[in-house]
Amino acid sequence: MPEISAGDTAWVLASSALVLLMTPGLAFFYGGMVRSKNVLNMLMMSFICLAIVPVLWVLYGYSLSFDTDAASGLIGGLGRAGLESIGLDSVSGTIPEFAFVAFQLMFAIITVALISGAIADRARFGAWALFVVLWVSIVYFPVAHWVFSFDDGDGGWIGDRLGALDFAGGTAVHINAGAAALALVLVIGKRTGWRKEQMRPHNLPFVVLGAGLLWFGWFGFNSGSAVAANGLAAGAFINTAVATAAAVLAWLAVEVVRDKHATTLGGASGAVAGLVAITPACAAVSPLGAIAVGLFAGAACALAIGLKYRLGYDDSLDVVGVHLVGGIVGTLLIGFFATAAFTGGSEGLFYGGGLEQLGKQAIAAGAVMGYSFVVTYILGTIVHRLIGFRATPDDEATGLDQIEHAETAYELGTATGAPSARLRATQADTEPVPAEEGVNA
């Protein structure tokens, strides 16, 4: 029976909590970018993922992703459904299997939450919740199996059989979410007034706070993916730090040349672009390679976010420009910068490995992108036809905080907020009051 390492277990549990924190971080990153009338809805689109996905993960998600392969590397079996067959003494590698279950759960949560930024300001909340259920079940769980499930060559087809390198989820998380975002935007359409009305971010400090929390949590995401407290975890850690730094510099450099100013939103966005790109590559490239990955990603994403205006799709918070493009950049650059010092074998083009690894990376990126785009388009259309994904133009004008959640985030001015708002009913009022004792009797 394999030995459990206390150090490995501690790091993976700590990393799991770090990755969980990324989703509230993402909520603030996105929430600051929308208009003030939609900020609560934006936060809730992420927060509801923290509520839905863990339940599905325990019921069948973990099993479909990580149980013994059931169909040529395409999906896991149902042997671990309900986690019934896992006990406190079950082992995965050198850690308790429950620790692995927890760590991988956090990836499922944030991946679907990432999509929400593309359809900000206009999606019905109930439809989004239904979409989350369908999307993680039919898109994320299988793709996680493709990429993350290893079983000595009998696991997932991309990671274990093809041998494409994706350490922490450039394909399974970022290309997956980015392609889904594009499909969903095409299903539900542009915000009313897009490109005519002002849609400035309402709270850039929130955006920076969110980016900071993402960066912090991302160390768990990348370094924790070593599933051990070892040299590889440390290498992934320093690569995550330096690639992100380089991407911020590259994004700001593009802005200074193009717009004459280094913006706060650009700095925060550059950090996320770098984090996305180094995610697949953090255990395949050297720290110098990580700087190159970060520079490419920061510049490519800073330029890619302009595409939506050329092509006319309203990816509101640039999920496509940052996550799809950043994910592709990181996944493909492994084919150039992979070094045996980190991978233990595979080498990229610049290290004398030829084109073989690059080919595998391209297949992995293309397959996940294609599957995610097509299936998301179908799922989004089903939800739209079934219950309506789209808020009405009137509701959009009013704001989704009020329409979907019956709340407002801020008290703006003294005339509109709480002091003059009268309490109409409380829970206690719903108790039946006998007529003769009623306050009005």
Partner: protein, 112 residues
Amino acid sequence: MKLVTAVIKPFKLDEVRSALETFGVHGMTVSEASGYGRQKGHTEVYRGAEYTVDLVPKLRLEVLVDDPDTGDVVDVITKSAQTGKIGDGKVWVTPVDAVVRVRTGETGAEAL
């Protein structure tokens, strides 16, 4: 009686307020306002997309004065709010029919 209304740059409030205090004006109403004149607005950039922000933040200051003081109060405000740069704002005067102090019911000049 007259109502003197001034739209000024927000950072000038303290100077204007203390100048009026020195002159002998002991009350005013200040509200946040936004607007533009010859100054127009400014440009902001978010992820490469340029936005023109037409309306610039200002403060609107309202002071009730007795007729003979009107010219002096306008002068005091103008001098203390001035930077000489575009966007300093405007001051205007309107006639007031009646004023009542809510607490006491006093009217006219006594209510100022």
